[in-house]
Symmetry: C2
Subunit: 410 residues, 2 copies
Amino acid sequence: MALVVQKYGGTSVGDIEKIRSVATRVIENHRQGNQMVVVLSAIAGQTDALIKLAGEIGPDPDPRELDVLISTGEQVSVALFAMAVKSMGYDARSLLGFQVAIHTDHLYGKARIHEIETERIRKELDQHRIVAVAGFQGLDDHGNITTLGRGGSDTTAVALAAALKADVCEIYTDVDGIYTTDPSVCPKARKMDTLSYDEMLEMASLGAKVLEIRSVEFAKKFEVPIHVRSTFTNERGTMVIGETKDMEKVLVSGVAYNKNEARVTIRKVPDRPGIASQIFDPIFKSGIVVDMIVQNTSEDGLTDLTFTVLKPDFYKTMRLVGDVAKGIGAERVLGDEDIAKVSIIGVGMRSHAGVAKKMFAALAGENINIMMISTSEIKISCVIEEKYTELAVRVLHKAFGLDHEEKEGQ
Amino acid sequence: MALVVQKYGGTSVGDIEKIRSVATRVIENHRQGNQMVVVLSAIAGQTDALIKLAGEIGPDPDPRELDVLISTGEQVSVALFAMAVKSMGYDARSLLGFQVAIHTDHLYGKARIHEIETERIRKELDQHRIVAVAGFQGLDDHGNITTLGRGGSDTTAVALAAALKADVCEIYTDVDGIYTTDPSVCPKARKMDTLSYDEMLEMASLGAKVLEIRSVEFAKKFEVPIHVRSTFTNERGTMVIGETKDMEKVLVSGVAYNKNEARVTIRKVPDRPGIASQIFDPIFKSGIVVDMIVQNTSEDGLTDLTFTVLKPDFYKTMRLVGDVAKGIGAERVLGDEDIAKVSIIGVGMRSHAGVAKKMFAALAGENINIMMISTSEIKISCVIEEKYTELAVRVLHKAFGLDHEEKEGQ
């Protein structure tokens, strides 16, 4: 008998018919002798509809009350799901954040889970009930409702799996697993069987939005195996697990890309101590997230500084940097929105040399110019012209032996 | 400084614009130095929409989960209201049933309030916050969400007012008070200034659906003054309070009617001990509510027994009674759906003679035949042919000096 935590996203519970078929699937698992804890998101579109309603009251709705409002979405889902299970002759109970209880800090809209009580859930499981837990929501120390931010139901599921010491945490979604790259860009993309937490973290932060990044951090910390799979098939999906020896044999596991960044360059910055903090302080203070930062070697006491920010922050950043540049006597500020970042990811890089060389050569072979480079232990990212994104992804996917024909030929 | 509990119904918070104007009104009260606790219903139509959604899962949705589902309606209202208040520069906090906490028994869908904690509300009030409490919902001993049944928000408001020892409980609705009778039937109906709890109870149970009956019972028990008034004007409405000497001076306070009953007569029932329970046992067991029961004096050991039930229960009742009638050897069973009940209500009846005589004479004056009569201390009800309902109401309203012209002439 296994204890299984399953999480179903908004599209998986998109309407009454789908909720019923999720109930059927969960009952099937229950009948096989498993203890089932099911985490549900709001019905697809519900959270956005509620946020829109709040927007009609006025801009910047009170964060505490926004959480009270949007947490109703998951409440509706778990109630309907438990009704569906009961209507099929099995016993089920819905539990909200305060009933579990899921304790969080008090950061409305992006709360972090501190602790999950397991007594109530275990009591329901001991009564042979299927337990449906509302995702995305928790309770702070003063009994206020909090929400965990976008994708928070993934975090709820993984945290519950950790607290309950579940055998596996299955994340059901509308894709059938994690792919070596975006299949809509590269038709030869392949579903991965396994992936390490670290690889998944790099994939997630680079724009492969299947799993919420915090849930993967949680899974890594508590060694919860995650199984990402499709709601609409019975196929095995992708296991996200701790690193194994086998993984290191593969040079590169996946190729990611991100078109949502823009580049800012400050030309001829006087190269003196404290200059970087002078430039970045106003940016950080505005809550703008800076991704890559590259500073060239100084020449005649002047250097070029280049960094990337998210596209929605581009104009604000240009304004802020323009002011600073004048103050510090830099030559000028250049901006470029037409860029993209392509990255190769793989724990195998740690033990293999020449990965970067192979990447640069593959891009050069298609005359794709590299504007910026940034590396980590298990990732290499290059900024290129946006129009080459798809080509670059396909070229890298092939170069590192990820295309599915080659796989089949092995 | 007064502590005021206000309750706004579904039409009062029917859309964002209305929620904003409720916020404006509450802030005005708050600025006048009052401590404000506001109970809100779900946005008009929301509860029905949620019940419909549950119905799509299947008939007879699980009662526990139905309460989890429909309690989201009030949660949405209080969150939006608190946002609206905050957007206008005043401080507000929404509190759900579990946060207050409002403790109930475990009868899902029709729970009764056992106890209301006041600590959290007082703490928020002490911080000069406007407190918005979700109506209709509570929590049982096991931390499960319960709801109080239709009109439950009235009960929440009155119970809160009792627990907080509020100075007044204002029930805001889409009418401007309690009328001497239904204005759509009798254009000369007059808004009452004051009304006793007992009169209101008779009015409510007879079909004047302004206040939920349990909330009036609660108010009577804890002596909470209720002020029923309109959300859309600033006029004084009707005060529902304990009985005063003044009230007894008025013979009849109001005229009520109810077209939702049907009549069942069993002819020539053998008049022997235990016969009534033989007849009514199967009816009560089926959960059918019997209103009036009249048994004529026995003649030759045979009697006629007549009673009324709600129209939706009529056919079921006829079937049940048909079976019993055969068993006990009664002659036959007659049914009549085309009936109505008209009633006059007033605490003044206690100290005045001749009220019944005046009622019967007024009806007779219009050739309206009385089929059944039932009386209580402060009420006389007559069953008549349904087609005469409106005429009867107008005639009684005039006969007892309730028409507004006469009022103005005093």
